[in-house]
Symmetry: C2
């Protein structure tokens, strides 16, 4: 059992109509605010107007950067960091989903250095400081509102790289489930898969850890499995949106990790898919995860798969272990591809095998991914092929 | 579903041999440290020497206050606050269990005001500031290492009063499961009951809240029920001690509350018992809780008791609801009085009914305790009688 340090100081306002606290919270950090967002959805929903009204009521000076794309690009990060420097911005306010939040984190870090922020990703240049970040979340998925990580794409190099650094942890996040009512069924489904994948990346781990955290992870997975279809069917179901929203934060904020060394497997494989084909992250994860499970299932990993099947999907614990394990994987596949209605094969979304060798090499960085079952380039390529 | 604000900035070093971080962490807050502790157990275990060595190695100036009692007295609080003022202490370091930590919190607050710190308890005098607090935990029970509350006794008035205030939240807590190896079987059992009671006080609640948090609470209760007997039987079982320790923090740090207004019921009833008879808090809770459950069970509360029985104790969900509910309560009683071996009746520990009327009046403050089932003075007296 490994030691760990737990520290998540993000303050969260959870619930409806909490934006009256936005002005005072921003004012703690200064007067000059850079508001970042993606497309026009926050204008259509009225959230943009409500946020701007609070900023103006607090007497703050507003700068804006919009157009942050899903799978956010380094171009937006560069632009945001430049505005921060030129306009002497005190605090960044990200309004959106994981993409907007992730990009804003690297803007906040980029504002504190003199070099190109891509170097944070390409060569792990040190992230020692960042301007303070406040978020208003509009999509439950990435958990970026309560963690210190982000993933940035570089279309020029076809790279998509993630990085965590404590200075990028949001100071304050506003989580209003009603702000996710406008998330469509497909994106709601992809968000659910992303959350489950964040948990799977911790849960399936050979490091021995606290049993209580396994129980928490199983509860989170059951919560997501229960509420995602409800939110898809009834987009303004507050209870469903609230459970999904808070689960998304706790799936990845570090609490469930305890002392486990995180063993990212499906995420790096997926990042290569979405870097090259710009597919939705959650869709890529849905296609990869059950195949990764099938590939990973062996005598050494069996008992954990049995635990997963029994505790998350209620599989009969008296089944022979291998049957129980397989049944759990089947039920997860059924959840992704039938209940959530996601496409189940790469072939169905126009992806063939021509780049698999290169993607596999990049996913593992040319070495072996540690993790639940260590995966080398050849293993990863085989998993991609299982997804065709 | 109520809104809530989540904010738990305590930094936790979890695991063995983390004390090398103690000096640097204390130094963040200043040079002059007041070390507080209870009896001689930390000297016997060697923890005192290790802590003092780290303080000296960091070049800090050490002051000491020992003798903090279980059910800690306001006298210790007054003494500690006085030392802080006279010696211009920068940071308090509490080494011990919930009693030492609770007392230290009010010393830290008392150091910042000119009035008697008992007024924090007796008349809710404002707690606007406190000196920074660092803790080294030696007993998993109260959760004081990661919450902002404490309970103080006043033997002169026979009062035992709790209070929460954000400035009293520890800045840093060191949780080393090995530091609880020396906790005896009886105190381990009482600690487990305290943790379960903290969860019960939130779980049984009529406010509708996030289902995911019910799942987390059920996981925590199952964790405690599983590991407490192991720790009693094998005091140096690291895995058991670790699970109990981290569960104790999460049972009461506020996460599981979500938007529920906390409905303290058994705790105020118990505080009257231990204020008058100085019994162990967890023992009082063990005796009271099943009777409170029996008294509280009615048509309006039935479904929650069924959920508790099924999800925590694996009661057969196909039983008639009232039978399933009763079975859950029986199994909790069996855990407290058979598995943990605690005394089950007030009569067995020398408590008779002579003060029940006064205790009931004080427990509810002369009004009606809100909560899962509102309890007036008459209700509380009846519950005390059920415990005889």
């Amino acid at each position: 059992m490994n030691n760990f340090v737990y520290e998540i100081p993000t303050k969260v306002y959870f619930g409806e109509n909490q934006l009256s606290h936005l002005g005072p919270e921003l004012s703690r950090f200064g007067k000059r605010v850079l508001l970042t967002y993606g497309g026009g959805s926050i204008k259509k929903s009225g959230l943009y107007d409500r946020v701007v009204a609070e900023i103006e009521a607090a007497g703050l000076t507003l700068f804006e950067l919009s157009g942050i794309a899903p799978n956010p690009h380094i171009g937006s990060v560069r632009e945001g960091a430049k505005i921060c420097k030129e306009e002497r911005v005190d605090v960044l306010l990200a309004v959106g989903g994981g993409s907007t939040l992730d990009a804003t984190k690297f803007m906040a870090a980029g504002a504190c250095v003199d070099f190109d922020p891509w170097r944070f990703l390409s060569e792990e240049a040190p992230i020692e400081r960042a301007l303070p970040i406040v978020t208003v979340l509009t999509h439950a998925a990435a958990g970026s509102e309560m963690d210190c990580g982000g993933v940035i794409s570089n279309p020029e190099t076809q790279d998509k790289i993630g990085r965590m650094a404590p200075p990028m942890l949001p100071k304050v996040s506003f989580l209003d489930p009603a702000n996710t009512y406008s998330v469509g069924a497909y994106q709601t489904a992809c968000g659910a898969v992303d959350m489950i994948s964040h948990i799977v990346e911790v849960y399936f781990n050979r490091d021995q850890d606290l049993q209580m955290l396994d129980g928490v992870m199983e509860s989170l997975m059951k919560t997501i499995i229960h509420y995602a279809p409800i939110a898809m069917d009834q987009p303004d179901h507050y209870e469903a949106r609230a459970n999904l929203m808070w689960a998304s934060s706790w799936a990845i904020n570090g609490f469930v990790n305890g002392g486990k060394r995180q063993a990212w497997s499906c995420h790096p494989m997926e990042h290569e898919l979405s870097a090259l084909y710009d597919i939705t992250h959650g869709l890529g994860l849905a296609i990869l995860t059950p195949r990764w499970m099938e590939y990973t299932l062996d005598e050494g990993t069996l008992s954990k798969f049995v635990q997963f099947g029994v505790n998350v999907f209620g599989v009969d614990a008296s089944l022979p272990p291998r049957d129980a394990a397989k049944r759990g994987i089947e039920l997860l596949s059924g959840f992704f591809f039938e209940t959530l209605g996601l496409k189940s094969r790469l072939g169905e979304i126009g992806i063939d095998d021509r780049h698999f060798a290169l993607m596999a090499k990049k996913a593992c960085g040319g070495v072996t991914l540690p993790g639940f079952k260590p995966l080398n380039q050849d293993d990863i390529e085989k998993i991609y092929r299982m997804c065709l």
